[in-house]
């Protein structure tokens, strides 16, 4: 009889006890705020009991990953004070001792992970936040644990800054252009000089020829009649 009363009390009291453990502004609880419409727009899903169950399950999953020794269950995640905003408070109770709340700091450690800014890298156990977000198709901004700041991604520092590469290409092309133009200018000048020298040589040859033929061609050649054929068509 006593056992039955105790069992009844336990069955009734436990949830009630659990409810008292979870309160808004609880010292060991976190508030979660979910913005599905902002994240997914037209493809937003309804937030209902099933989604809440999934949340409890993922939280239990996160706790299990972090505290490998203890097996957490969905019952260990207690949720209360849901609003239309879709925000609620949750606390985590220890699987062994239902009255004991897991401290805030431990819950934070279990949840925190790299932010979703970088593409997923299969790494250590600090990936829980990423997995939680993915389960709901949300991001750090739309699935907020108020009080837990997402840790910032380490900046990706490539060995050579990309701008230096482009700069190298451009300046290489420019140098090539300058050298090409200067060299071609130089060659052009040399060809001109050579051409002029050859013309000078021709002049000398012609003069020599005049004398060699024996006839004195010192007189001025009268150009007045050179173009005769062209003009006199009358």
């Amino acid at each position: 009889m006593l056992v039955r009363i105790l069992v009844l009390l336990y069955l009734v009291g436990a949830p009630a006890l659990a409810q008292t453990l979870c309160q808004p502004n609880a010292s060991n609880g976190y508030r979660v705020r979910i913005s599905i419409k902002t994240a997914l727009g037209n493809q937003a899903y309804e937030w209902n009991e099933n989604e809440m169950f999934l949340f409890q399950a993922t939280m239990a999953f996160a706790m299990r990953r972090y505290y490998k020794t203890e097996t957490y269950n969905v019952d260990n995640i207690i949720v209360c004070n849901q609003t239309r905003r879709v925000s609620f408070w949750f606390v985590v109770i220890s699987p062994e001792n239902p009255t004991m709340l897991i401290p805030k700091a431990d819950v934070e450690k279990a949840v925190s992970a790299l932010t979703t800014r970088l593409p997923c890298r299969p790494m250590s156990n600090s990936m829980s936040r990423h997995r939680i977000n993915n389960a709901f198709l949300l991001t750090d901004r739309t699935l907020e644990f108020l009080g837990i700041h997402p840790t910032l991604a380490e900046p990706v520092n490539p060995d050579t800054p990309p701008w230096l590469i482009v700069f190298g290409v451009v300046i290489g092309a420019v140098f090539a252009g300058i050298i090409a133009l200067l060299v071609s200018s130089l060659l052009q000048k040399r060809r001109k000089e050579k051409g002029m020298m050859e013309d000078g040589q021709d002049e000398e040859d012609r003069q020599m020829k005049g004398v060699e033929n024996g006839i004195n061609l010192d007189g001025i050649y009268n150009r007045g009649f050179t173009d005769d054929d062209r003009f006199t068509k009358l």
């Binding site: 599905i36 905003r85 990309p162 590469i165 700069f167 300058i178 133009l181």
Partner: protein, 634 residues
């Protein structure tokens, strides 16, 4: 009748019409020539159309009454821009010489006008190419996704974003810190920034490779640099019109406010914009025109180029403001979204219960019932008009506002690359004219030995400019550039333009000029040209000059500085220039202006002392092959 000042020996110094015909037929080989008319037109269009069309005109248009600004702009374009352009083209084509050669031929005492043009081209070229260096830096940085100015960097401890960035914005931070690494005042030089030096080097080398052989190389380069901006503008227009909010921007730009026409500063700004936009008084246009054949129709060219310039200004204003409209709408939406989220979070309302449509109503209801909560939320006022009128000009527009807009577009790196290629081409084609206006007068003045090839002289000019332009690569470089922009490129140009008109109309003689034009293009210039050349254009330039001079002299000369530790950060701090800057201002604005009378006085003194006949051909300019008399001892 116009009284012409006595001008002895003019006929000896300039080629006569018969000599011009002869030179035209024989095609004197030494003087450079355009390969075809297209090259000439593209070069002139490129010189005139520059960064000012893209980032100065849209701002002026929007701040002076939108569509109404077109009225003073077009009126002054016709009364001031076209006559001055025609004048420079005609005198260059007639006298077949660069700026020093032309003014010396008109009267040896006017050499100062040419030298002033040389100095202004040199000083303006220096800082203009630095802007191109900045454009190249942004271009180099556009080849990554996400763009470096789209998000704030993380600080050294990896605990939070850099505070200077979070307090201002990622684009501001990238411009003032990553690009310029700006100091807090002009006196604090802060040393050379190595990445800026590299970009500056690249800019000058690129300019050198294009100007190496004068118009032989620039004539080829302009096929790309003068046409590509129009292609990019069209692409941006199409892209812009498909973005949300672009039509708001265009409407905002062109909504006329006719009251602005009563405001004298509207007309003065329009006049100044027309004047600077045409790149007059640099000497480059005279030089380019002198490579034409004698019978080229310079009147038609002047009108066509003016129309193209005006059209480009309006077109680019449309494009810019479509993108600014998009950015303003994005900002407005973000602001509103932030407010709505704050309300939803504070009152635990369901998502979607407050939307843009019922925001004002909901806010009123909530304010009625929970005023203290609303107060504590500290909601921002979101006004689209405010965001639209954040229209900035100059480097702020290109490197802050527009880059921010680009980060919000899909495939941002592509748009960034296109935008900065366009700015680069606009700037480079203007630099061609600037280099021409520097190198040719140097050759005319025989500063360098004649047998030195053009490549060497251009190289020296580029090298010296690069070394001096290293001031702009310091931390305080931005402030120095603003200084150069305000003083080197404003007052001296107005002085030179005024002197040019007086020289041609009253010293060379408007009658002789009219006959020259009749000889060149076949008909005398009509009444419009006569009236504008003699009275209207000089008057307009004089009025603008007086206004500028009085404003600059009477006001406290201040500049704006980026100071993270100032109270109003991120608003720029207004500082006064230190006393020693006034010396620099005098060098920039005063020296080129004073060179005009100074050279005349110098020559007068020299003539009195040496008793030689100055009116003979003592200027044997390289750029004009004319039979000259030797100096006669009187």
């Amino acid at each position: 009748l116009v009284k012409i000042l006595p001008n002895l020996g003019l006929g000896d110094r300039i080629p006569s019409h018969q000599e011009l015909e002869r030179m035209e037929k024989e095609e004197a080989g030494d003087r450079p020539k355009w390969d075809n008319k297209t090259q000439y037109m593209l070069t002139c269009v490129g010189f005139c159309v520059g960064l000012g069309n893209v980032w100065r005109f849209p701002y002026l248009c929007q701040s002076h009454g939108g569509g109404a600004f077109m009225i003073p702009f077009l009126i002054l374009l016709v009364l001031e821009g076209i006559p001055l352009l025609h004048l420079e083209f005609a005198i260059g084509q007639r006298l077949r010489s660069g700026s020093v050669g032309v003014w010396t031929a008109i009267n040896p005492y006017l050499t100062g006008v040419g030298i002033a043009s040389l100095l202004v081209s040199f000083l303006v070229g220096m800082y203009y190419n630095t802007i191109i260096a900045w454009v190249m830096w942004y271009f180099f940085n556009s080849f990554q996704n996400p763009l470096p100015w789209s998000q704030c960097p993380v600080n050294a401890n990896l605990t939070d974003l850099v505070s200077e960035c979070t307090r201002s914005s990622p684009v501001d931070y990238f411009w003032y810190r990553d690009t310029l690494n700006t100091s807090t005042s002009i006196g604090d030089s802060g040393g050379l920034q190595w990445w800026m030096v590299l970009c500056l080097l690249c800019a000058w080398l690129l300019l050198y490779v294009c100007c190496l052989r004068g118009i032989a190389t620039t004539g080829k380069a302009v096929y790309v640099t003068s046409t590509l901006p129009y292609v990019v503008l069209t692409i941006f227009l199409i892209r812009g019109l498909t973005l949300k909010g672009s039509l708001d921007g265009i409407k905002f730009l062109f909504t006329p406010d006719l009251n602005e026409l009563m405001n004298p500063s509207t007309w003065l700004d329009a006049g100044a914009q027309v004047f600077y936009s045409f790149s007059l008084a640099f000497g480059g246009l005279i030089s380019f025109s002198s490579y034409n054949s004698v019978h080229n129709n310079c009147e038609q060219d002047a009108v066509i180029i003016s129309i193209i310039n005006g059209f480009t200004s309006v077109y680019s204003a449309t494009v810019i403001y479509s993108i600014i409209g998009f950015r303003a709408t994005e900002r407005f939406d973000d602001c509103l979204e932030g407010n709505i989220l704050a309300l939803l979070n504070a009152f635990n309302l369901a998502e979607g219960s407050i939307k843009e449509g019922n925001y004002a109503e909901s806010l009123q209801n909530l304010n009625g019932t929970f005023p203290e909560t609303i107060q504590s939320l500290d909601l921002k006022t979101c006004d689209l008009q405010t965001f639209l009128s954040q229209g900035v000009e100059g480097t702020g527009l290109a490197f802050i506002v527009f880059t921010e807009a680009i980060t919000k577009m899909p495939v941002s790196p592509l748009w960034s690359i296109l935008f900065f290629i366009m700015l680069f081409c606009l700037g480079l084609s203007t630099m061609f004219g600037s280099i021409e206006g520097t190198v040719v007068p140097l050759q005319d003045l025989n500063i360098f030995p004649k047998r030195w090839p053009k490549e060497a002289i251009t190289g020296i000019v580029c090298l010296v400019s690069f070394v001096i332009a290293l001031i702009f690569a310091q931390s305080s470089g931005n402030y120095w550039l603003a200084l150069f922009d305000s003083f080197a490129g404003s007052i001296p140009l107005l002085v030179i333009a005024f002197c040019e008109m007086i020289a041609v109309v009253y010293i060379y003689g408007i009658d002789r000029f009219n006959k020259d034009i009749e000889f060149m293009i076949g008909h005398k210039p009509n009444l419009f040209w006569q009236v504008t050349w003699r009275f209207v254009s000089p008057l307009i330039v004089l009025v603008i000059f007086v206004f500028y001079f009085v404003t600059k002299v009477s006001s406290n000369v201040t500049y704006i500085a980026w100071n993270p530790s100032s109270e109003d950060f991120p608003t720029l701090e207004v500082l006064e220039y230190p006393a020693w800057i006034y010396v620099i201002i005098f060098i920039l604005a005063g020296v080129p202006s004073l060179v005009v009378p100074g050279t005349a006085i110098f020559k007068l003194i020299r003539r009195c002392c040496s008793n030689k006949n100055v009116y003979g051909a003592e200027v044997d300019t390289v750029s004009a092959k004319v039979q000259m008399f030797t100096t006669k001892m009187s």
